[in-house]
Symmetry: C2
Subunit: 214 residues, 2 copies
């Protein structure tokens, strides 16, 4: 990117992360930790492949991303955030906090992927019953499976599959996302095609609060 050439923290920051797609690449890496090139492409629908490669080079040069060679039998390049890169999480959180109202006006053509639930759950998720034993919820949608665990007062979510979940939610990604974030209840989600198998009360443990000021 062309530098703004200003002695100002905001301008200097935007020199590094102000380019199109850059912060969304960081988002994907915050969600997935270590990440293949193809994972990034799938999580960034519409990005041109040359652009992704160029951004990754720039991010590596800026000390935000580092690459490593995975050992066989994987034998592929993995991309990962440096500590300086992980320090961008508050920036993404601030943008997300601010944009919460905009999230209501979702366009019909907008895409949704299940793993995008990870950051909102990390930022706003609480365990409603901290003293109860923890519960595990498995999301099974058309794209990647997501594993959610609530216990000890906090909520964690990651891409992948749980060994023995208390509750499995199967169906289209969008309604499952709205159910997990507490925007619809289970009855309404069922009419939208969501199937729940197991301990449905586990959903009560997920408490997703509103961002500050929203």
């Amino acid at each position: 990117m062309r530098s703004y050439g200003q002695v100002c923290g905001v301008a200097k920051g935007l020199d590094l992360i102000g380019d199109r797609w850059t912060l969304l690449i960081v988002r994907e890496l915050l969600i997935r930790d270590a990440c293949r090139y193809t994972d990034l492409r799938k999580g960034l629908p519409g990005i041109a492949t040359n652009l992704l490669a160029q951004r990754l080079r720039e991010l590596e040069q800026a000390g935000i991303v580092l690459t490593e060679q995975a050992p066989p039998p994987v034998a592929t390049t993995l991309f990962r955030l440096t500590e300086h890169g992980r320090a961008l999480e508050p920036v993404l959180k601030a943008i997300g906090d601010w944009a919460r109202p905009q999230l209501a006006e979702v366009d019909e053509g907008d895409t949704f992927q299940t793993h995008w639930l990870v950051l909102p759950l990390r930022f706003y998720g609480e365990d409603a019953e901290p003293d109860e034993p923890s519960v595990r919820i498995q999301l099974d949608t058309e794209d990647e499976p997501l594993a959610i665990e609530a216990g000890g007062g906090s909520v964690t979510a990651r891409v992948g599959r749980l060994a023995d979940p208390d509750l499995v939610l199967t169906g289209p990604a969008r309604p499952i996302g709205r159910l997990v974030l507490g925007r619809v209840d289970l009855d309404e989600a069922r009419t939208l095609g969501v199937e729940a198998k197991g301990e449905v009360t586990a959903l009560q443990r997920l408490n997703v609060r509103a961002p500050p000021g929203g």
Copy 2:
């Protein structure tokens, strides 16, 4: 800007504020409150005038900026942030926090303007002696005058001139900025061309702390 088309708070936010120059326009409006078109242009060296006009239109349409007609004898258009626009301050703060280290590597061609001190003073400034009577410091550089006041534990700064300052700092903008932010002491600043007239101990009242995690 072209929308990312993703059901994700970060992406939705970037749809509105991810364009080049946009957040720097917001920065200028956070510094100055009400602002003429020409003030914005001076504070954004290098921006194309058509681009500034276009961004202001987009920001107004997004409910971030509003325009008002100043009454005579000023008789000009003023730009101001809406409440939704002022809510972007934490986003700028998060970027500034993150970019603090980058601010050390300033290029020689980079420009600096005195009023850019307002946000760092607002974010990181503390009054070192909350119980003492407040002090007023006037900055007089080649560009606009800046008025700083420290008292009651906090620091405020705004563009403009004080009636009877306790201390007046005159000289080139860059060294004055570094002095106010505590990056050089008064002796070193003097060798860089800064003149101090009045109660020089007033500078001790300014305490500019480091951002979280930096």
